[in-house]
Symmetry: D2
Subunit: 425 residues, 4 copies
């Protein structure tokens, strides 16, 4: 959460904030609409959370960081929710253990929707008057926070449905766009000193700051994402049986977990099928490969004679591109082949799949987390994680930007994560 | 399941069977009525199952063992249910892994109720015509099976609610009966040869057979269950900190699990509270102690200078008593103090709490499991388990009898299990 | 440990005790002679102990229960040894955790031999004067205790060598006796009331008491142990892949541990080899099958249409037989085929392999453990274990008798444990 | 392993290589001299290896990568050693599992010394003739590899002795040098572009290459290591109980492992004692703090208002300093206070303790691992590890340099690892 760099805003902007509040909060509920109360309560693994918990926690965020600060005497909707729906803020206090979020059959989903209604009502009232720049920034953070959880609702329910032998579908399939067969090209960038990090007007998270200088060697970026067909060649070449392509921890993971293909792939006779949010279907070789871990992305890159981009390399190329692509707004919830014909610019940098970089998640030089509980938002996770960039088909277009840093453990596969290559030139 | 010893029944008995089918099936649904869809889907530990699963599995039993045998061409309600709702019958085929029963948000609870309605309809039609003795016996088994799962629904939902910091209540409390302060007396039985096992008319499970002779030394049975107040004295005497009272495996369990009191007990200041199905309340010293493991029952007995009864000792005393007591029909769902004043006969042998015996669960001499899948009902579990006797406040009165054998691992605590003492005389 | 039933002994018996002390203590050292210091220090699994620990613990037994009681002012060899070499006596105090016994590279093996020499010297002096009947009994217990650890030294070092890809040999092979092909016969015993438990003169452990009456149905005992060839037929018939033969916990174990044959078996091409204390060799179909768990013994019995004997059945047959057989004294350290031709009496009841019974390990009616720390010797283990009878090729002939009860968890395989069958008749 | 940058050497250099071979190989044996065969065989945790394994594996390295390449027909000392003593080279083949290295009581320690003698003899013969530059480089790698294992022998035996309640000493204590009380100063470095990585003549590992440009902001380096007294203030200020100082994974580790102080610290009354290789002693507040994980180093830095240096910052400051300090050659095996009075240059950059940097272990831009098995030496570990710099009191002075990169998991504590601070200026 970045506060200092935000300028004060006029009343018109406040109207916009109220409108955006309404819009983003509504989308969360729209995304949960296809889910039953039963779908909303179960936790299919410790890394995932029930949709009900996401619905409550995002509401808790506004109640805790906005309403109870603005109105210290305000009665909370339910005092026990502070314990139940705190995610990881030690400064706020103790909390319900993460792996046990799925045991909360009470409060009911209906009560959580009442909770949302109640907090939304208070927020709407609150936003009728001008709010300070600091508060605006906290609300902005809360909205981006909610957008992050919207993506998690989709990835967590996908995981839940994978655990069900019936392989349910979350929604019906959207007609596929007419795709282009686009051969992989290599877009070259010269060596030099670059400034990395957020610098323009508008919201960013604390860890996108401060802008700082980085020297980068010349490199060439793969013009599109690695496709399912390309990844299949790696599989067919024994990729999951040959340790020479893998990091040591990656190879240990392949063996201990018995990985033989990307997550959500299932062999049916000689064919590979995969789970989408619209149910099972045959893999489409022109789709970007998806649901691979960092280990798989890195092994694929090494097999192919390339490597993964560093954060800096990725950002250098992405900031020249418009934030366009296959986002959650498309309602497809699955990556798609490039729609444009090949060009001199790289394609698919935004949307479709999060792109694993080669960069461990660390602080930018001079990074300072904000004071207070929101200082726990990002900084304390800067260890044992890898940065991903660019957003996915489950990300809001209004949420993503070139400087945006996402991060997951290197063995995580349940996000929409894929592969972008670079080469030294 | 015992078939051979069942005599054929007249048409009137068949009407009774239909009536009992209706009555028992309805009770299952009544017991689930206070639960939401969310309550019904979650699995709080591998030993427990979601209520939805119990509702489906008991229905699967009749579909699998009665309808699809009687009507080989009958279309099953959903062919995937055979996989989803088989519990442990290897002969029926593969099944959904037990620890993952809580991931099945689909089929929905509504679909499962439709499944019940559909199977109940077929069963009703089927029972309009006379059925063979064998089939009657299978249906009887299915009804007793359903009664077992009714008890599990209650104990599993109690465990689920314990996992919830809100400590929800399943129902409101029933007014407590006027209890009697009954001092512990010792009812003596002479040594001699006894016949143990089921011998009278009526249903029994396979493992209650064959009746066989056992030589038993003289002993004296405690005239009532061990009370909460008595158990509290053990606690206050350092019972959970003194290894000399415990079996070696029990002491290891106390230490590794950090046990300090019976399950569902919670210290609030200087008081002990406990969870009931009507919510949290202060312990009542006159109630029978409940939710203790075999290890705790055995340690308490040793501390008190007594011991637990063998199966044979328990059965010798119980078969002289009427099957009367605090059962599920009372709607109390919690053990209660003796209502009768002390007498020369032991009290509380049936109902209130299952009584841990000193006997590991083994086959009676000459025991033969029935042929086919129902042979897996009991026999394959005859290892690493301890026999409990007498039924509990969550058992149906029509389900229990003096020869009835229940069994659980020695560290199990989530059943309504308590302590009966004996002494050598 | 049984004290009360021991009669007082004359001085001549005391001389015998000194002689037996010397003989048994020496055998322990003889059994360790083939082992290097390195062999003596490593612990290959939590259930096994290093030979050095066995050498020290058996010495600690005499120091703790004899010398420091007889001479309260005696200076212990090393005060820290009380902590290091206490096995499980809570009354003696805290102790080094069992799974960490293999971390004690100090004290060195040489220091432990000095410890033995020092304690043996004191014991020799002590035994020059008459000792009380109680003390005699404790010393007897210590000697039988040492004989138990002698057997464990052999089984634990066998396990250690199995963990080594070099498959070292502990000793060279003893020439095999001329064996007889003995067909399995069934020796019948009539139903009736029997007295079970120790009743004659001489030492026994506490849990062999009190003698008590048991009613036993008629049965027929297999005339010899199940052979390797017979067990191979079970294997070849898919024994390890067919759940219908297995107890539920047994089948879970087969699957989770990937069992496909008895322990120490290794497939080489189409042949089965096994590890003996003389190294690897091809299985010999005429040898008794060995290193099977209770689960395997029980499954084999069910597959073969028989069952395992109860403790009582075993004891009834064994007490008519002389304590003769293939014991540790033979130096073979491996079971052998019957040497006698078939007869009307059962063969191999003593020695060769411990015979799994169908009986969980429980207290005999009226059992009382002795007061004090030695009360922890047996009684606290009476849960989750199965009784084995008859001794093995690693047992001393002077250690075993018809009433002797050994016990292990049902999945234990590293002891010399095999299969005796019975049938109902 | 770096090959390309190595220039060819004259015959005199080859003599030097033979001499260095002898010297380094001898030191390994000297370091093992205080250890018994028992000390040499036990593995106290999966991360540590027995000294015998280190002795064998370093020998295997020369046999595998030098002798068997130079003499393809040479008979190996024992063909099974290739399996037993391969550490992690997939290209060489399968190997004995790392966590089971401690089960190898055979081959004996004497056989391993024979193995060393045999390989050393062959190497001595081999080095009498000129060898190619490539081979020289492999031998150099083997010698540095052996020096790495020398350090591990010391840290692994320290861990082993910690696991022993007797707290044995590896050696007697060396007289402590007269230390200076040196206040912490901050030595400033200007922002700018720096070249990082190995560039001078002489050996380096592959991952120190290629030299590359990095832009670094201005910073100030703490003039000495963080002392035990300073770290004690962190402890006394509740450092291990206050999550606000910790990375999220660090705080989880503190809680799950119950950390309350650096490794090897033990509270005795109100005093802290620690284990050294000379046995237990009271902590000395002037010593550098040691045996802290990255998590603790990072938390301490945050508590103190500073941070850990990046690799680049550390290297910038270190390459101006001579490679001088408290190394293994001093025989102290414990960090010591600064001996020089404070100066304008930072102290203790080399020796004493490895200094945790803020940098995850990743490839330098353009990094290429060498072809073949030696390509597995470093590159495949570039994930989930943190870089440490500067060597320790267990490192050879001839082994370390300013560009040297060591790496361990962030929770590792059994190495001699400590804390250097930096501040932004």
């Amino acid at each position: 959460m970045s506060i200092d760099q935000q300028t004060s805003r006029a009343a018109s902007a406040e109207q916009t904030l109220a409108a955006r509040y309404h819009e983003i909060r509504s989308l969360t509920e729209q995304l949960c609409a296809p889910l039953s109360g039963e779908d909303c309560v179960v936790q299919s693994m410790p890394d995932a959370s029930p949709a009900k918990w996401h619905l409550a926690h995002t509401t808790w965020f506004f109640e805790t960081f906005v309403l109870s600060r603005a109105f210290p005497d305000r009665q909370s909707f339910d005092p026990q929710y502070q314990y139940l729906f705190n995610s990881y803020y030690n400064e706020i206090g103790d909390r319900h253990p993460r792996p046990k979020r799925g045991l909360l059959t009470r409060p009911s989903i209906d009560e959580i929707y009442e909770y949302r209604t109640s907090v939304d009502h208070s927020m709407r009232e609150f936003l009728k008057s001008p709010v300070s720049g600091d508060t605006q920034n906290i609300i902005e953070t809360g909205l981006h926070h909610e957008q992050q959880h919207q993506e998690l609702i989709l990835t967590d329910v996908k995981h839940l449905f994978w655990c069900n032998p019936l392989r349910p579908a979350y929604c019906s399939a959207v007609t596929k766009p007419t795709s282009q067969t686009v051969s992989m090209k290599w877009v070259a960038y010269p060596k030099g000193m670059w400034s990395i990090g957020h610098a323009v007007e508008g919201f960013c998270f604390d860890h996108e700051l401060p802008q700082h200088r980085v020297f980068v060697n010349s490199f060439a970026l793969g013009s599109r994402l690695v496709s399912t067909g390309e990844y299949l060649s790696f599989l067919d070449d024994g990729g999951y049986r040959r340790p020479e392509f893998w990091l040591s921890d990656g190879w240990d993971t392949v063996q201990s977990k018995g990985w033989q293909a990307p997550f959500y792939w299932e062999q049916r006779g000689k064919e590979w099928w995969l789970l989408t949010l619209s149910g099972m279907r045959k893999i489409d070789e022109s789709d970007p490969v998806c649901h691979v871990s960092f280990y798989e992305a890195d092994a694929y890159a090494r097999w192919s004679g390339a490597r993964l981009p560093t954060e800096a390399e990725w950002e250098i190329t992405a900031r020249e591109m418009p934030v366009d692509g296959n986002f959650v707004e498309a309602g497809r919830f699955h990556p798609a082949p490039p729609t444009a014909a090949s060009s001199s610019s790289p394609l698919q940098l935004f949307g479709d799949v999060w792109e694993w970089t080669a960069s461990p998640y660390t602080a930018y030089p001079g990074y300072q987390p904000p004071a207070g509980a929101l200082g726990e938002y990002n900084g304390k996770f800067m260890c044992n994680q890898i940065v991903l960039r660019g957003g996915s088909c489950a990300t809001s277009q209004t949420h993503i930007r070139a400087t945006y840093r996402n991060f997951f453990k290197p063995d995580a596969r349940w996000q929409f994560s894929g592969i972008r290559l670079v080469r030294d030139v």
